[in-house]
């Protein structure tokens, strides 16, 4: 067997053992609790108006990003000394990082399933999606966002010298993700460019595309729903919510691309850190 693959296999199994021994399954429980809280609050207003639905998706995406980052943000930085010793003995950093990425896929899968099940319990989702039924589309989006955020956590952890630094960086990264989602503020110019490298923007785009947020008939603006005087009010269409396969696939593709960049940065930063080993 190729040595990199063999190391990937060894570290994948090690990650599972440590996951159990360190009781990291509690991250799945925490994800369930957060999902429950978010869905319980936003669930009853979803699919009533555009603003309520968008806010609901924003809360769900925020929860997904938080859950993902929290899975891994302290994982690598607390092992820097161990990695240095193992790197000197012949560890391939790419195998090490990929073992975390692949193992975390299964953790994120569990969290995405929980989040989706809890969402379905509180939210009455429409049946039609963009390219398939809506529920699988929502699930894929949430899985990609949680997993992507997890990979971003791996990257932050790789470049951080210790867990304190990583935990200090975490709120800034989260705030950046929330601000750049395009929900709280209108993004123009440089902020729009930066938003292109956030999971929140593309996560919102995918959910909005599946939910057809631009459909004014199904999802009127809040003002027209509240006041009959504004019944004919036409709100502005938002490109990233276009109910088209291209929009959805582009959003998924961008989430995947950002994740690949995070993986590459993680590998390079650990190689650089251990260049003298």
């Amino acid at each position: 067997m190729n040595k990199r693959l063999a190391q990937l296999n060894v570290y994948f199994k090690k990650n599972f053992r440590l996951f159990m021994n360190q009781r990291n399954w509690k991250f799945i429980v925490i994800a369930a609790v957060i999902s429950f809280l978010v869905c319980a609050i936003v669930g009853k207003n979803m699919y009533n108006t555009f603003e309520d639905t968008q806010s609901g998706f924003f809360a769900i995406i925020s929860a997904a990003i938080w859950v993902g980052i929290f899975n891994s943000i302290q994982r690598i930085c607390k092992e820097h000394n161990t990695i240095a010793a193992e790197y000197r003995s012949g560890l391939h950093i790419s195998s090490y990082i990929m073992s975390h990425v692949l193992f975390d896929f299964f953790v994120c899968l569990c969290q995405a399933i929980l989040l989706m099940v809890i969402c379905c319990a509180f939210i009455d989702f429409p049946s039609d999606g963009t390219i398939m039924a809506a529920i699988p589309e929502y699930f894929i989006t949430l899985l990609l966002v949680i997993w992507g955020a997890d990979i971003m956590g791996i990257m932050i952890s790789s470049v951080s010298s210790n867990p304190n630094v990583a935990m200090t960086a975490m709120p800034f990264v989260l705030i950046l993700q929330l601000v750049m989602s395009g929900v709280l503020f209108k993004l123009e110019g440089w902020s729009e460019t930066i938003a292109n490298i956030t999971y929140s923007k593309w996560g919102m785009s995918a959910l909005g595309s599946t939910a057809d947020l631009n459909n004014g008939n199904e999802l009127p603006s809040r003002i027209s729903a509240l006041d009959p005087m504004f019944a004919g009010f036409k709100r502005e269409m938002i490109d990233m919510y276009e109910h088209e396969a291209g929009t959805l696939l582009a959003a998924w593709g961008m989430i995947a691309l950002i994740s690949v960049v995070c993986i590459v940065v993680s590998i390079l930063s650990l190689k650089f850190r251990n260049r003298n080993s």
Partner: protein, 516 residues
């Protein structure tokens, strides 16, 4: 104390081995014990090493033990001596300059054209790593055009060395009629005449090939190679060999505006089974020293020059091949707390040896290491549940499974009470009984002073503000050398800050003692 003469006895000559190859003769293993003469076997010869070849002079050359190592000098013989392929030139009527011999050096008595050896050419390979009972095998090349070399292949050159890959290398006959060695992408590489090769290399007569711990000597129509024995459960003191030669010329901070030496002229040998204490005053360069030993020639703005040799091969030049020979066990464990001892060692072995070793071979290796380091009772314990000493033993096992030979422990006893410190040192001593060498930095050296085989004392000179070797030798001599009753008092003697500030005195005295 100041007016007393202090006698210091340098370390006695260590036995070394000379593997002598003469035409029409078997392989002779000669043990060097101090000064010895080499010459032709004629009636009345006074030589210690007698050679039958007609091209050897009666008093051909001398082996001299000085300054802790063996040297060779050709006594202006008729045909001269080639040292690693270079003829030794005469400098006076007594002979040539004496060359310091290192593991794997080749002395050759031959005519001028080395590619066409004289029928009576003699080759002697100096070694500090061969045992006197080493078993040597022959593989005849005549009539073959390809000979595979690998671990337990059962055909070609089948090595018993665990660190050799299954399909390690191949000897191939070129269309021009010359043999070449090809590295088949092995884990631990191939070295020819102490230099790691990349891909392939043409061979010349008497080239010395190193594959992991096996030495192969190419003799045009045959290859001879040793059988590597597995490490014994208990190491016999008489079979101790030098495994690491250290000759750090200097370690320098490489700032843009100012360069400053941190260490200078550190020369010492480490033998298997050694438990060596490293003592040093503040700023003496202990950290720089251990980094240099590990092959980190360039770290944190410090650059080391010199040599650290394993089996005669330079760690700095062949870092990739030799980096696993020496390892650091830092003050705080680098293992994962929530993993068991077995899984920690197993994962290290599997991930680093995978691809070439079967699971059964890896299990055998782990069993061997666990047996040697008495870890079987701790096998399923979490690392976090081990005592300080047990954790260090687990870390030694981690290196040992990858054939690490030298371990450097940085203050393993800090924060421990007296009883635990003593227990830890006893544990480390037991690790050395299976052949590993351990160097320990400790600030409580007297707890287990009788367990150390040697002491390294580094001291910062006030004259040049550089760390030097102020002593290297056994513990008993250290007391008389420094005129102290405790090892901890040595630091007081040499320290300028809070001590007596006698570093320069001892640096000079040790240097003079070495020179004899």
């Amino acid at each position: 104390m100041d007016n007393k003469t202090v006698y210091y006895r340098p370390l006695p000559p260590k036995p070394a081995t000379l593997l002598v190859l003469e035409p029409n003769d078997g392989i002779r293993v000669v043990t060097l014990e101090g000064d010895m003469k080499m010459g032709r076997d004629v009636q009345g010869s006074m030589c210690d090493i007698k050679l039958r070849s007609g091209i050897v002079s009666r008093d051909h050359g001398d082996f001299i033990f000085a300054d802790g190592s063996y040297h060779y000098r050709d006594n202006n013989s008729l045909n001269g001596t080639y040292y690693n392929g270079i003829k030794l030139e005469s400098i006076n009527e007594r002979g040539t300059r004496a060359v310091r011999l290192q593991d794997g050096d080749v002395l050759r008595i031959d005519r001028k054209k080395l590619d066409e050896p004289h029928p009576e050419a003699v080759v002697a390979i100096f070694s500090t790593s061969f045992g006197k009972d080493e078993k040597w095998n022959r593989c005849y090349l005549r009539g073959q055009n390809m000979v595979p070399i690998g671990r337990n292949t059962g055909y070609g050159i089948s090595l018993t060395d665990f660190m050799a890959s299954r399909n390690h290398a191949t000897l191939m006959l070129t269309p021009e009629g010359r043999w070449k060695i090809v590295d088949n992408g092995s884990t631990n590489g191939v070295a020819v005449n102490k230099e790691a090769i990349v891909g392939e290399r043409l061979l010349s007569p008497f080239d010395v090939i190193r594959i992991a711990n096996t030495t192969l000597i190419f003799l045009e129509d045959e290859v001879i190679y040793n059988t590597v024995q597995s490490r014994p459960q208990h190491f016999d003191d008489s079979s101790r060999q030098v495994i690491m030669n250290v000759n750090i010329q200097k370690a320098t901070t490489s700032g843009i505006f100012k360069k400053r030496d941190l260490l200078r002229d550190i020369r010492l040998d480490v033998e298997n089974g050694d438990l060596i204490l490293i003592l040093g005053g503040s700023g003496a360069g202990k950290t720089t020293f251990i980094n240099a030993l590990r092959g980190k020639i360039s770290q944190s703005g410090v650059r080391s020059t010199g040599q650290v040799l394993f089996g005669g091969m330079d760690l700095y030049k062949n870092f990739k091949m030799l980096k696993n020979k020496v390892g650091l066990v830092p003050q705080f464990p680098t293992t994962r707390d929530e993993d068991t001892v077995y899984h920690t060692v197993h994962d290290m072995a599997t991930s680093m040896l995978a691809g070439d070793y079967t699971p059964q071979e890896i299990q055998m290796r782990i069993k061997d290491v666990f047996d040697r380091l008495m870890l079987n009772s701790l096998r399923d314990r979490f690392i976090k549940n081990l005592s300080g000493g047990q954790k260090k033993r687990a870390e030694v096992a981690l290196g040992s499974v990858l054939d690490q030979e030298v371990f450097i422990l940085d203050e393993p006893d800090s924060g421990m009470d007296f009883a635990t410190r003593v227990d830890l040192m006893k544990t480390l001593k037991s690790c050395t009984e299976t052949g590993e060498a351990i160097l320990v930095i400790s600030h409580a050296p007297d707890d287990a002073a009788d367990l150390y085989t040697k002491v390294i004392v580094l001291a910062k000179s006030q004259r040049d503000e550089v760390g030097h070797l102020a002593y290297y030798g056994d513990v008993a001599n250290a007391y008389s050398f420094f005129g102290v009753n405790k090892l901890s008092e040595i630091v007081m003697e040499i320290n300028y800050e809070g001590g007596k500030g006698r570093a320069d005195e001892f640096i000079q005295k040790f240097e003079m003692t070495r020179r004899g």
